[in-house]
């Protein structure tokens, strides 16, 4: 357990030394979100209708942005070898890396999104719902994205390939995440959507660490 905590702490400390990395991702989120009203038109009820979907999609893209450095940085400076050689399970190390990624990416996105939601005319209940769905849904994105990052370590065109691999697998989370916020507006069952989001996160938790560890071992060969 101490190795897990040490890895999360180390990655958080590294981000603390370079806060610009987080700021860039959040800035991208804001800019990307802004493009939609500019492309579609500022009509209030249209924006309110598309808000949940737009914000969820933009959060998804922003979360993917920082993923290709997740393991590549460790691969390049030799610290990945040390993780492969650590005498505690690699699956836990994979979980620690994705956890640290979520803390510096998914979590800030979830907290920032409601403020952008205001610009789309979402009502306060919907803003809270948006934050809640992102809080529950973004860990899944970090896990799936971490898997895509591990699979593409050292590959050619790894950035685009990572997105190609991750996005289809993120579709269920997107559907239920955006759907949950819309359910609130249309009188659907918000709680049920949130429960499915949580279930998706549990499935990801149960499957991806093993796959990520297998992929990292391939990279070490």
């Amino acid at each position: 357990m101490s190795g897990f905590a040490a890895l999360v702490a180390r990655d958080l400390r590294l981000v603390w030394r370079r806060p610009g990395d987080v700021a860039v991702v959040l800035a991208f989120f804001v800019v990307a979100t802004t493009l939609f009203p500019l492309g579609i038109g500022p009509e209030a009820n249209v924006l309110a209708r598309i808000a949940a979907g737009v914000l969820w999609c933009a959060a998804l893209f922003a979360a993917l942005l920082s993923l290709d450095r997740l393991f590549a940085a460790d691969f390049e400076d030799g610290t990945l070898d040390l993780l492969l050689l650590a005498p505690w399970p690699l699956e836990l190390a994979a979980l620690a890396k994705c956890g640290a990624h979520w803390i510096v990416t998914g979590l800030p996105l979830a907290l920032l999104a409601p403020f952008l939601g205001v610009a789309f005319g979402l009502e306060p209940r919907a803003l809270l719902a948006l934050a809640a769905t992102l809080l529950v849904g973004t860990p899944t994105l970090s896990l799936i994205g971490g898997l895509a990052a591990a699979l593409t370590l050292g590959a050619r065109k790894s950035g685009a390939l990572l997105a190609l691999l991750a996005l289809p697998l993120c579709v269920p989370t997107l559907i239920f995440g955006a759907g949950a916020v819309e359910a609130l507006a249309t009188g659907g069952d918000f709680g049920a959507h949130l429960a499915v989001l949580a279930a998706l996160a549990l499935v990801a938790l149960a499957t991806t660490p093993w796959a990520i560890a297998a992929a990292l071992r391939q990279a070490g060969e």
Partner: protein, 206 residues
């Protein structure tokens, strides 16, 4: 004649479809250094990585005190200290932070009390608070060696340990290695140059 702790039998490795080495057998006992020599591409790094179980060998066995290393990989990894081509250091962390984090990531108890002696062994105390990315190649290599010393592991696997080291640093390395061997430790090192340790054996890879 020291009995052997590490026994490697008929080890074979294949990379990218071609055979790197096969039917490799050797043993190493406490206090012994085994130097791996051979041209570039002869498989020295592959052999070290196979011993560390980073690369899955095609055939052969690795035994430690009679037990199969591959049957208990976590226990085996706990016995290793690794120095590869890359330093294994985070550029944005200081020397001290890197060394302490490396120990914590090995699941070892807090190393603050042992840190000083590792730093002193490689003349690093004055650099302890500097971020690693500001150091020269030789200073980074010394930090990586300090990490190996700090680990207090019985078996050292070293890939070109003298790379980028100036003469004083090479002496410091030799002293640390001799201290490790005198305490009953083992070391296997891939090297182009003579490590200057009396009584070491050599394994030549074609």
């Amino acid at each position: 004649m020291a009995s052997s702790l590490l026994e490697v039998a008929d080890l074979a490795c294949r990379r990218g479809g071609r055979k790197v080495f096969e039917r490799l057998s050797f043993s190493v006992g406490p206090g012994e250094l085994l130097a791996l020599v051979g041209r570039n591409g002869s498989g020295k790094t592959t052999l070290l990585r196979a011993l560390a179980l980073l690369v899955r060998p095609e055939a052969g066995s690795i035994h430690w005190q009679g037990n199969d290393a591959r049957a208990e990989p976590e226990a085996w990894r706990g016995r290793l200290a690794w120095l590869g081509h890359l330093e294994g250091l985070k550029g944005d962390l200081t020397v001290a932070e890197n060394l302490l984090a490396a120990e914590r990531l090995r699941g070892a108890p807090p190393a603050e009390d042992r840190l000083d002696s590792a730093l002193v062994a490689f003349d690093l105390p004055s650099l302890a608070a500097r971020p690693v990315r500001t150091l020269s190649a030789g200073q980074r290599r010394r930090t990586a060696l300090a990490r190996v010393v700090l680990a207090q592991a019985p078996l050292w696997l070293l890939d070109e340990p003298l790379n980028a080291l100036d003469v004083p640093a090479q002496s410091a390395f030799r002293a640390a290695l001799q201290k490790h061997l005198a305490a009953g430790g083992l070391a296997i090192a891939a090297t182009h140059a003579d490590l200057g340790i009396g009584g070491s054996r050599t394994l030549e890879l074609a």
